[in-house]
């Protein structure tokens, strides 16, 4: 999975799924419509100004709250390449793989890298590079099978490809 250089948006701890995708829009399913409401209430600046290829860096327990898959779908449809957090809430973590949104756990990168900085992410190696000083932050690379799901773009695509 090849990622390009992108800008960082920083988020705090305990970012809940109601913040990522407000429940009022749960009756939508189309990814583009969902992306339009991604962080609409709590982080309107991100909602309006994030660009395709950007990254999200967040503190602990990212994606806590509901089981809505709409949340990672909205982030992916917004064009975010990867969400890097100190750690994730469990349902969000599962959902991210299942719908093909790359996620990594790397507390060091989260505490060191500031909003607006540019980074490059290597999923295979589990490396995050801060472009401005070339500092590399290492994290546990994903197991092969999880990478394979992401490479196919999600669990259903993976199942179909391996029939």
């Amino acid at each position: 999975m090849k990622m390009t250089k992108g800008k960082v948006w920083k988020f705090g701890a305990d970012i809940d799924t109601d913040a990522i995708l407000p429940a009022a829009y749960l009756n939508l399913t189309e990814p583009k419509s969902l992306s339009e409401h991604c962080f609409e209430i709590t982080h309107p600046n991100f909602c309006k100004n994030s660009k395709k290829g950007d990254f999200i860096l967040a503190d602990t327990n990212f994606g806590c709250g509901s089981s809505r898959e709409h949340a990672p779908v909205a982030i992916k449809a917004k064009g975010i390449q990867c969400v890097i957090a100190s750690n994730f809430a469990r349902i969000f973590f599962r959902n991210a793989f299942n719908i093909g949104l790359p996620v990594l756990e790397c507390p060091e990168a989260v505490s060191a890298i500031e909003e607006g900085q540019e980074i490059i992410v290597d999923m295979q190696k589990g490396e995050i590079t801060d472009v401005c000083d070339n500092k590399v932050y290492k994290c546990e690379p994903l197991p092969e099978n999880m990478l394979a799901i992401l490479n196919e773009g999600g669990l259903i695509q993976y199942i179909n490809a391996n029939k």
Binding site: A13, D14, D16, D18, A19, P22, A23, A24, L26, N27, L28, T29, I41, T42, T60, N61, C64, G65, S66, S67, R68, E69, H70, V73, N87, A89, R90, I91, R94, N95, N98, I99, G154, L155, I156, I159, N160, K163
Partner: protein
Amino acid sequence: MGMTITEKILAKHADQDTTSPGQLLTCKVDIALGSDPTAPLAIEQFQKAGGKKVYNKDKVVMVPDHFAPNKDIISAEKCKILREFSKEQNLTHYYEVGEMGVQHVILPEKGIVLPGDLAIGADSHTCTYGALGAFSTGIGSTDLAAVMLQGELWFKVPASIKLIYNGQLPKWVTGKDLILHTIGLIGVDGARYKAMEFHGEAIAHLDMDSRFTMANMAVEAGAKNGIFHVDEKTTAYIKSRAKRPYEVFESDPDAIYSEVIEIDVSELEPQVAFPHLPSNVRGISQVGDVGIDQVVIGSCTNGRISDFREAAKVLKGQRRNPRIRLLIIPGSPEVWRQANDEGLFDIFMDAGAAISTPTCGPCLGGHMGVLASGERAVATTNRNFVGRMGHPESEVYLANPAIAAASAVLGKIGGPEELRQV
């Protein structure tokens, strides 16, 4: 080496004798649940993967409860997807408006989930069934699609936290207060990826409805599941409901826990979670002067008959503050009928309440009581995140039904004791 109840249920469903935390297991699923916000995505994924028939028509359950009765055209279309899929698949357990209740209220009521089961649902509050001594947890839509296709799913075996509640519960203190207090203690990620196993004298005295409330909110501490052991109260509850055999599991005396937390409940007072996290709790005496606009009593957390009895005890002979909208939302038709038969609705009507048909409704800002900017609600629901019940500048305070009822009369957050002094 001993195992916890959670480990035993997971091992059993993976056809293994033993397991331990961290192991990845592929487990057979007894019940797979979907509702109107999440099941349409699951059905779409099921079809994309070439799914024709679900793995077992008795084990896939569909309940349109969030935005039903249909709140608008978009929601109507989603509910229609559930209805048509359930018909096409000839599902045994599809509940149409009229039979429909909040999913986590009706599944135990109808004996669909039983002790020892492994149940999953595309709703985070699926963990409610832990009250029955079952392993149950929330998953996403694609995971639900995978289960509908294959009848199994991978799980990472969670470590367990043992929570022991000592002492006798003071008056007006319920399961809601125990779980809010616990979340306040350990935080919204205090049990992240873990099982919360509830024990102790106070738990033994807790009725089933309060146990459902506690298991329901395990996810608000980040837990994968919350679980209770089966005792005579559980057995009495399922006696008339179970239509198939079930297996009772128990933690071994030498089971390993990642943490043991003991809590003395004898001095505990009713708890209120302030905006905007369920962990932001205070005792009712520490609330201060917080004026409110709306009270909601219902939801998968507190929409059962005991909850409405508690509220009725407080509201009997009282009238809501004229500025307050008081919404009563029974969690199921069974609860609705029971509350009606017991005369609770007369008490609520006399108190100036609006009584709704069962729905998740306002809990997630869907419909039937959405908040305007600057408004505050006391709700017996489970989440008080920013904008949860409506406008981003509205606020939700989580509490038990007696506190919610008293607050409706007082026009500000307060308890039944305060009401007595007025």
